[in-house]
Amino acid sequence: MSKAGLIAARLLQILPTFLLIGVVVFVLARLLPGDPVSAALGDRATDEAVNRLREQMGLDRSILEQFLLFLRSAVQGDFGQSIAFRTPVTTVIAERLPVTLALTGLATLIALALAVPLAFVAAVNANRWPDFLIRGVFQVGLSSPVFYVGLILLTVFAAWFRWFPVGGYGEGFADILWHLLLPSTTLALSFSAVIMRNLRAAILEVLNAEFVDFARAKGLSRRVVMIRHVLRNALISTVTLVGLHAGSLLGGAVITESVFAVPGVGRLMVDSIFARDYPMIQALTLILAVVVSLAFLITDLIQMALDPRVAR
């Protein structure tokens, strides 16, 4: 099969996934305790107002009808009005999603920038002191809760040294970067520990492969052998790992955004749950699921580019 055909097939495979996610989201929203109408109107609303809103939100119809309506509008990109914001849900999300994508994207880059060279150094010096040191430090990173690391970074670099803002989001590339650096680093730490461990093991495995000896036998420089033959092969499994962590990264974003007051979809999700903002919760869950699925797709594509055996 050609590469384009493979990509198309992969895209088609995603559609039933989306439908399933739709069902889950719809059901979950109904299972949340509390009533969205009273959440929106407060306890003192008149019965008439309550009924009018129930009708508006379609809550008076049968569950199946509600689901079909939900699906139809979801496909049209219409997730209704936010109960909390009283504006279309999509408007709010469109504003917040890029923030979270920037946060998680930057976190991924930081995690890779930390993990890849250090995994390499650790693997090449396996079971000698640089290896023990690197693994020890990362072990601490892995076992510290995100919010705790976040609070420490905030206290030290934002409150004491005042190098970074304590929270919020900026405007323009440099300003955004400055605002996101601490939260991204927070998010990146445990992620990079996971990547480091995986990549170190992968490098050690590849180092044992015959083709590495053969590459040396060809008279290639140590750099070429290590980067082109060892690291490149080892990174294939790391790409999969990074892709599979897209979901937990978004989960981490929920906490990080709350700690650093970053106006992304993670914090929006928390606020919406407290506000029982059904339409918002549904839309967010669906969109985040789509984002994760796309991350998987991109992972697959990168893997196809890195490993010719995958394309069979």
Partner: protein
Amino acid sequence: MMAAPSSALLDVRDLHVRFATARGEVRAVDGVNLSVAPGETLGLVGESGSGKSVTLRAILRLLRANAAITGEVRWQGENLLALPEKRLRDIRGKDIAVIFQEPMSALNPVISIGRQIDESLVAHTALDAAGRRRRAIELLDLVGIASPEQRLAGFPHEFSGGMRQRAMIAIALAAEPKLLLADEPTTALDVTIQDQILKLLLRLNRELGMGLILVTHDLGVVAETCDRVSVMYAGRVVESGPVDRVFTAPRHAYTDALLRSMPHGGAARAPLRPIPGQPPRLDRAIAGCPFAPRCALVEDRCTVEAPPFAVVAPDQRAACWASDRLAAREGVA
């Protein structure tokens, strides 16, 4: 065909390789002497585990960190074992190339065959990109891979075992080495392909004057293709000399037993029938001759004193206390 030490292309003297393992030290190679003259074909034979592959890898220092290599590997007036890694890299692949025993795992699965040939050309030639491409096609064609131009973009998993073996040979030949170390280049292949590959190696040996060390289990192959043969046992070369001498008039009891274990009628390509008994463990020092426990001609001193690797006939050496008796028996028979 006298190979005086000075005229040798490669001269391996008293090579030792010890592996540090969890179970202790393994003396995989324990005093190996080898020499190859320019354009000569040397067969290296011996039972499984006798140290053939380790010897080849030690020549180019391709062993892992757990291996301690001592001795001398003389190559054009230099000792490869004492050379800085950087200088050695200029020799690897350029002057001395190797073909590994395992064609399935010796190629990088995620790099195209063309690129893997190109790497060698980049490292050892001054050709530009177009020139290297032409040369890569030429090399694949030389080793008998059909439609080489299309095959350049192919990956190892798209190649059959025989084609991978050929691809590995093409890579090894990229810089026209003066010496090729071929570690059982045909074992993994079926008989017809075995034949083609051997013919190819011999043709290159003749046409390019390339020296060849051919490791094999197959004495028939050695008899057909090699000028000289070295017989290994338990990490040592126990006998070496011209093939026709060693195979008709062995002066080491192990070589003798090895030849007797072959089916009669000189059936080429027949696998070895093992000699009764086991080769010795390599994780402890061996007093005397390592073959003594299995030897039909064993005498008292064999288990105490190691026989010297002595000249037993013109250009033939053997490390055996029974070499005189072997010679005498021959006279009678």
